[in-house]
């Protein structure tokens, strides 16, 4: 089959690779019909995650058809149209039983990396480096899904392919971000990052009772989508001081819930530290020297801006260590931090219901649909955010 392989920093190629086969009794093979790019793939492509190996197939957000299943797969049938949650749960461990699928004890076949770096290992993720299991990803004609009964979900008739594909990753991640914010009616929610996940976090915040949602980005098309599609007010961080603007919009209180949908490659943008973008220079320098693995500009801003006693919900991806973390502000302001990779399996049913009722329509995230053969260009376009690209979806 053809697959998009990572060969080194910013080196993606579509190559011929062997077809996947059933390797364990709970596996299924899915013929991929749509597979989307994701912002977190950019961290892998850029070489910020140290356990990628040349030849790895990337991609973790996909929709397809079950073409083969192992002897212990009981809930799926050949021909089912399914999405697969990007983060793999075994379905049986204590964490999976408590619907914390991204903390699964058993789905990561290469736990040594994470145990050494993080103290414990978390779930395997498709196409997401060897620290997260080294599973082959979805930018391919076929993909093998372990523990298929837990991770594959039949798509209801009334939901289109273009809506469903994002229920693998972007929609549940955004939904979980809002869910972790424990939003109460009347809350003001600020969302850093107006990409796919940020857009879904904004929509979800409204579904959970937020009174006002503020989207923060610097790309005009994303800000427009946040306004037109997600119903948010917007701030362009390259033009305004985010702290001043958020306090002005909230009577000096600050947002009740701050959501980070950006992660480790954040820009601090305009002079958020008065006068100079020293912060950006500092983080970029240290990151380039590998003295700091992640740039925490958004985290610092959120801690500064959040109302006293408010909640920070983090779904933007971080890999390792950050410097100059304003712990004093966080502690003295009694902030609550919630974070994690998405527990998508917990939300899929609810999300399909929202989509069927017309309360949520993620299809607008799909701005470009390309052939798999053009995937390297697709990623370039997504990375450069050219042509108002929100998400490129590949159809093998």
């Amino acid at each position: 089959m053809r697959a998009l392989c990572w060969n080194g920093v910013n080196d993606l190629r579509v190559e011929r690779v062997p077809d996947p086969t059933i390797l364990a009794p709970q596996d299924a093979i899915i013929k991929v019909s749509l597979s989307s790019v994701c912002g977190s793939d950019l961290h892998l492509i850029g070489g910020y995650v140290p356990t990628m190996r040349a030849g790895d197939i990337i991609g973790h957000e996909f929709l397809g058809e079950v073409v083969e299943k192992g002897p212990e797969v009981t809930r799926l049938n050949r021909g089912d149209r399914v999405i697969t949650v990007s983060i793999i749960g075994c379905g049986k461990c204590w964490h999976c039983e408590h619907e914390e699928f991204s903390l699964c004890d058993n789905s990561n076949p290469q736990p040594a990396f994470e145990e050494m770096a993080y103290g414990h290992c978390t779930a395997g993720i498709f196409g997401y480096s060897h620290a997260f299991g080294g599973y082959a990803g979805s930018h391919a004609e076929y993909i093998r899904v372990p523990f298929a009964d837990t991770n594959c979900f039949r798509v209801p008739e009334g939901v289109t392919d273009e809506q469903a594909v994002f229920v693998s990753d972007a929609v549940p991640t955004g939904y979980m971000a809002a869910d972790m914010g424990a939003i109460k009616p009347g809350d003001v929610v600020a969302v850093w990052g107006c990409g796919g996940v940020g857009q879904m976090a904004m929509k979800s915040a409204f579904l959970m009772g937020a009174e006002r949602v503020i989207g923060i980005d610097r790309f005009p098309d994303r800000l427009r989508a946040a306004q037109m599609k997600a119903g948010a007010e917007t701030l362009d961080y390259s033009r305004v001081d985010i702290y001043d603007a958020l306090l002005a919009m909230t009577g000096g209180r600050g947002p009740d819930v701050c959501i980070d949908a950006v992660g480790m490659e954040a820009d601090s943008g305009a002079p958020s530290i008065k006068g100079l973008a020293i912060e950006d220079l500092y983080d970029r320098g240290k990151q380039a020297l590998r003295l700091e693995s992640d740039r925490p500009a958004v985290l610092r801003q959120m801690i500064q801006c959040c109302r006293k006693g408010g909640t920070l919900s983090i779904v933007g991806v971080y890999g390792g260590l950050i410097d100059k973390f304003p712990m004093g502000a966080a502690m003295n302001k009694a902030l609550t931090f919630r974070m994690g990779q998405q527990h998508g399996q917990r939300y899929v049913k609810r999300l399909f219901e929202h989509i069927e009722k017309g309360e949520l329509d993620p299809a607008y995230l799909l701005t470009h649909k390309w052939a798999l053969d053009d995937a390297p260009q697709g990623y370039r376009m997504f990375k450069e955010k050219a042509d108002d690209c929100m998400r490129v979806v590949f159809a093998p």
Partner: protein, 245 residues
């Protein structure tokens, strides 16, 4: 160790990704740990690891020379712990049938039951070196504990204890595995390093992890045999070598 299981080759002269990852992240953690304990030597080692990791410097050989002699002088006792979401009775019964243990230690080839308390074990070290020992149960407390020791003439003399106790909050069972090898230097020490390389604690941890995965989900997650762009490329370079070499 597991990082290279699917047959990839790392570029010559650069540190493996596992080492780099560990050095970058663990190096700093070690640095902090060192500073906290007031051990500046440890802190400096952490800092050094961090920088070496950052630069992708191959660490393993110098590190082995520095770190391992010290490790080898210690008697080898190793413990691993895991919580398994299964009742103790089930785990006890599984472990009591020593034939099941072959699936937990990849070096084990066969376990032969000689009597109710004695069994004969055959394993292989790196390069297929055969390792054989007889083992006798000492203490068996139903659903709680199993201890054993190896008999005279064992290639891998050791004592072992596996302990099962209920985990709080209905989380299942806490399992501890303790293995004590004869102090290295003698035949036992050689066999330990032959069989386990330098990391018996990792072997013990992985054995318990396999037990957990078998008991909780009935299979071990794997990526062995999945497609990647490596297989094809490997073949191409091999062919090129044939032509040019």
């Amino acid at each position: 160790m597991t990082g290279d299981r699917d047959g990839g080759r790392r570029p010559e002269g650069s540190a493996g990704t596992l080492e780099r990852w560990a050095a970058i992240l663990g190096g700093t953690a070690l640095g902090f740990a060192g500073a906290r304990r007031g051990s500046w030597a440890l802190a400096a080692l952490g800092g050094g690891l961090f920088l070496a990791g950052a630069a992708g410097v191959p660490l393993s050989s110098p590190l082995r020379q520095v770190a391992l002699p010290a490790v080898r002088r210690e008697p080898t006792t190793t413990q691993a712990n895991v919580t398994i979401a299964v009742p103790a009775e089930k785990l006890f019964r599984h472990w009591r049938n020593v034939r099941h243990l072959a699936a937990l230690f990849p070096h084990l080839d066969a376990v032969e039951i000689l009597s109710d308390t004695e069994s004969r074990w055959k394993a292989h070290g790196p390069g297929g070196v055969p390792v054989v020992w007889n083992s006798r149960l000492d203490k068996v407390r139903e659903n709680e504990l199993i201890t054993w020791h190896t008999l005279e003439g064992a290639d891998l003399p050791h004592r072992g204890t596996v302990l099962f106790r209920p985990a709080p909050g209905g989380r299942g069972t806490e399992v501890s595995l303790t293995l004590a090898y004869h102090p290295p230097g003698g035949a036992g020490g050689n066999a330990v390093s032959r069989l386990f390389g330098a990391a018996p604690e990792q072997q013990a941890r992985e054995a318990l992890r396999r037990l957990k995965r078998i008991m909780e989900v009935g299979e071990l997650p794997t990526i062995e045999g999945q497609p990647s762009g490596r297989a094809e490329r490997g073949r191409v370079t091999a062919k090129l070598r044939e032509v040019t070499g």
